[in-house]
Symmetry: C2
Subunit: 197 residues, 2 copies
């Protein structure tokens, strides 16, 4: 690569980096291309030299982030030895990247079909692990018999609910931190079969 190509690559990376920061803190919908350019210290027009339009930029960043994040999550889940620990690891991770998840969850209903499909696909991979864990619990007789897919939907919906309306529940700090224990406890009490009492 000659000087020019290196420079171009650097600018491209700079845009991706700054855009990611903007998107995470303000959301995809509320970040303007001018803002991103300003944040990078480049001209507004330069941005469109590297990315034909805003949507393409968003998709590239989202793809990148989703890939990284979903792999990490699946890794964390795999390390767990039961549903409780899986949930713990999962929620811990979401908490660490809460701004990102807050943005995605809140804006999801407004994304283009393509963007939505990408997000839902990644989530479905993670969700499958939970469904499998529930199925195993049922097979072992530890959990009540129920529709495991629907059970997972109850779980993921609840997490999404807290994430998307985060501002209602906490003025600052993490919603997930605040409700993690209760979510886990309640969900497990839903599933767990008790003979006693």
């Amino acid at each position: 690569m000659n000087k020019r190509q290196v420079q171009k690559q650097q600018t491209r990376n700079l845009i991706l980096q700054q855009a990611k920061n903007c998107f995470i803190s303000k959301g995809f919908l509320n970040t303007t291309t001018s803002e991103i350019a300003a944040e990078c210290g480049i001209a507004h027009g330069t941005l469109f030299l590297h990315f034909n339009n805003k949507e393409i930029l968003i998709i590239e960043i989202l793809d990148q982030q989703l890939e990284i994040i979903s792999l990490k999550i699946i890794e964390l889940i795999r390390e767990a030895y039961d549903l409780k620990e899986m949930l713990n690891n999962y929620l811990d991770f979401i908490q660490r990247e809460e701004d990102f998840f807050h943005t995605i969850t809140r804006e999801l209903p407004f994304y283009s079909d393509e963007l939505r499909r990408k997000i839902i696909f990644r989530e479905s991979l993670i969700r499958k692990k939970f469904v499998k864990a529930i199925d195993e619990g049922i097979a072992r007789g530890n959990f009540i018999t129920c529709d495991s897919v629907m059970a997972a939907t109850f779980l993921f919906s609840t997490i999404s609910y807290y994430l998307s309306l985060k501002n209602i529940f906490v003025s600052e700090g993490s919603v997930i931190a605040k409700f993690k224990d209760k979510i886990i406890l309640t969900f497990l009490s839903f599933l767990t079969r008790r003979e006693d009492a």
Copy 2:
């Protein structure tokens, strides 16, 4: 009321009526004031003669609708003799007004604080009825002991989830109709204590 006052009132009502239709079918955020005016067959400026700004118009309509709807729901719930029937009545009603609920649920995270507070408040009244029903079930020994508020959150989150992402689950028709039975069945199986099997 003289002719002028009558005319003014009629125009005002016309705006409220048409704006409501627009808002329900397209959402509050995606409906423009010009559209509403066009739909009413009045000049754009006339709208601001009756409502100082868009937000005020939205709030008035939302207040109206929420009041009507939440009273009806509470009525329907009261008629039910157990949680299952409550849920059935509740979901039937949501299904009938699904466009409205779809819009509200999807856009909620983007509303102003005031708008959000109004919606959440109404929902909380309905939610309380369910919490109470769960508490009674627990007291009677029919339901497992659990955090009833959290249990209700799982329920309402799941309903919101299907409503807000409706387009993913059905290309046309009602999401609620599609998932109603499964939601009820799963939620009840979560709560119900079983000694058998």
